[in-house]
């Protein structure tokens, strides 16, 4: 047992438990902002410390892999996983930074918000370094179950509970489909570990292929790729704005991280047949998402369709199936987090002061808050041009 390999997850779990305990200890009239402050400080320090965890290029070139495993290859900590974990931590820190005031005014249960956010972050980190369908499944569920609660956290709003129920039903059906696929793959190969599947010839039986297809469909649901996207706009609109930001940044990046690992490590040979389908789906996402975004009246809904289009951009990098493509996807994921933080910060401020995120609420922003309006406009421009930039990077 190499507990050093999972130090990040242990640290996040401790922070989550700390939030729960502090919420119980603090007196009722005390503000919960202090818990958020401690969590932000801890996570920022850890994200900086994680730069020392990367395996240097010289060691990899020297023939050693430098990759660390936990618990019999179930859990892999390589540079890929560390990068994504840093990204998730940064996204969570930004979300907490701009949600401190919002949460105090909108939510009734403030301490639980921080604890659940930590659990969602833990799920994302587990997903990024899962090397086993069991670990991937647990990480996915840890993340989505926390999000079901967080999406419904605005007790005063009818939309919030509606969004949570829609998310829960679609999410649990997609979980069931994916689990059924995993069980078929397990039946065909006798293992759930990614490295074992790579070498197993029985994956090409009818059972294995059906299972792999169902697993991929489960991932498409989670990533809201277009034929399976129906839940995303409603959930994004109904959720509290910081949670919408986390759904758009963290949940999507985590899905991409595990999808790449499954495609390239577990199913590389089947993945070869999947790539044309992925290419078509990513084209549909890019075109359809942007066209449907035009006619939305609510800005959060518009950003939901925009995030569907962003998933399409990221899938282009996956389709290329080489190191340059993977690098482009990771670079794009980083840009995507920073662009979305700007958009959602402005949006949550508007919502806090004007009570909604409709076009009517945004109207006249240039007169009352010119700097924020300019910032918002710049962010939206950036969201449009970003696909082009990282496409060029590739």
């Amino acid at each position: 047992m190499n507990f050093g390999a999972i130090s990040t997850e242990i640290f996040i779990l401790v922070l989550g438990l700390f939030a729960i305990v502090m919420d119980l200890i603090l007196p009722k009239e005390e503000s919960r902002k202090s818990i958020g402050g401690v969590l932000i400080f801890g996570l920022t320090a850890w994200a900086a410390y994680m730069f020392t965890m990367y395996v240097p290029q010289a060691i990899i070139a020297g023939g050693e892999s430098g990759t660390r495993y936990f618990s019999d290859m179930m859990y892999v900590v390589d540079n890929y996983a560390i990068f994504f974990k840093q990204l998730f931590i940064v996204a969570t820190v930004f979300t907490m930074l701009f949600s401190v005031d919002y949460m105090q005014t909108v939510l009734r249960y403030k301490g639980e918000f921080y604890a659940l956010l930590m659990m969602a972050l833990l799920g994302m980190c587990v997903l990024a370094s899962a090397n086993d369908f069991l670990t991937a499944f647990i990480g996915l569920e840890l993340m989505t179950i926390s999000f079901y609660i967080l999406v419904g956290a605005r007790i005063s709003s009818k939309n919030s509970s509606e969004a949570a129920v829609k998310y829960l039903i679609v999410g649990s059906v997609s979980t069931a489909i994916m689990l059924y696929g995993i069980s078929l793959v397990y039946g065909a190969t006798g293992s759930v570990q990614f490295y074992d599947m790579l070498r197993n010839p029985y994956l090409f039986s009818a059972t294995g292929l059906a299972g792999a297809t169902m697993v991929m469909i489960g991932f498409f649901f989670k990533l809201s790729v277009i034929p399976f996207h129906m839940w995303a706009p409603d959930v994004y609109q109904g959720a509290p704005t910081p949670i919408t930001a986390m759904l758009a940044m963290g949940s999507k990046a985590a899905g991409i991280a595990v999808l790449m690992r499954v495609l390239y490590v577990a199913f590389p040979l089947i993945g070869f047949y999947w790539l044309p389908i992925l290419a078509v789906l990513s084209a549909i996402c890019m075109i359809g998402g942007n066209i449907m975004a035009i006619r939305q009246r609510d800005v959060k809904r518009m950003l939901a369709y925009s995030s569907i289009a962003q998933a399409g951009y990221m899938m282009v990098g996956i389709v290329s199936a080489d190191f340059a493509g993977m690098k482009a996807v990771m670079f794009y994921g980083m840009l995507y987090v920073f662009a979305n933080v700007g958009a959602f910060t402005a949006l949550s401020l508007v919502e806090q002061h004007r009570g909604g995120s409709d076009y009517r609420d945004i109207a006249g922003l240039a007169k009352t808050a010119p700097i924020m309006a300019a910032h918002d406009f710049r962010i939206l421009l950036f969201a449009g041009s970003q696909g082009y930039v990282s496409g060029r990077g590739q």
Binding site: F133, L134, E162, L179, Y186, V192, Q237
Partner: protein, 103 residues
């Protein structure tokens, strides 16, 4: 006649299909959650059957089933809590009436 792998797989496929039909056709949130539960239990039968009837050395399938049961319970518990909130908000748990947000 002895019960073999194929019988278990047929049973689980039938359960999965019934659950999916329930999710798609029922209008009550609780009934929809029952459909989801049927789908998840079909998966458990699959895992345990594969572990029992195929020549594998370890108990990974049973382990997966235990985790799937846990996760399914957590999901349905949250679903029931949300159904209660929907009922508080609108005095109904019919999914057809959840149409505040469109577009």
């Amino acid at each position: 006649m002895t019960i073999g792998l194929n019988h278990c797989l047929l049973l689980s496929a039938a359960l999965f299909a019934i659950g999916l039909y329930g999710v798609l056709s029922k209008r009550n949130i609780i009934a929809v959650l029952m459909g989801v539960e049927l789908m998840l239990n079909a998966v458990n039968i699959n895992f345990v059957a594969f572990n029992r009837f195929t020549p594998v050395s370890d108990l990974t399938g049973q382990l997966m089933a235990v985790f799937a049961i846990t996760v399914g319970v957590a999901e349905v518990a949250i679903g029931v809590a949300l159904a209660y909130r929907i009922y508080n908000d609108r005095q109904t748990i019919n999914v057809d009436e959840l149409d505040n947000m469109k577009g």
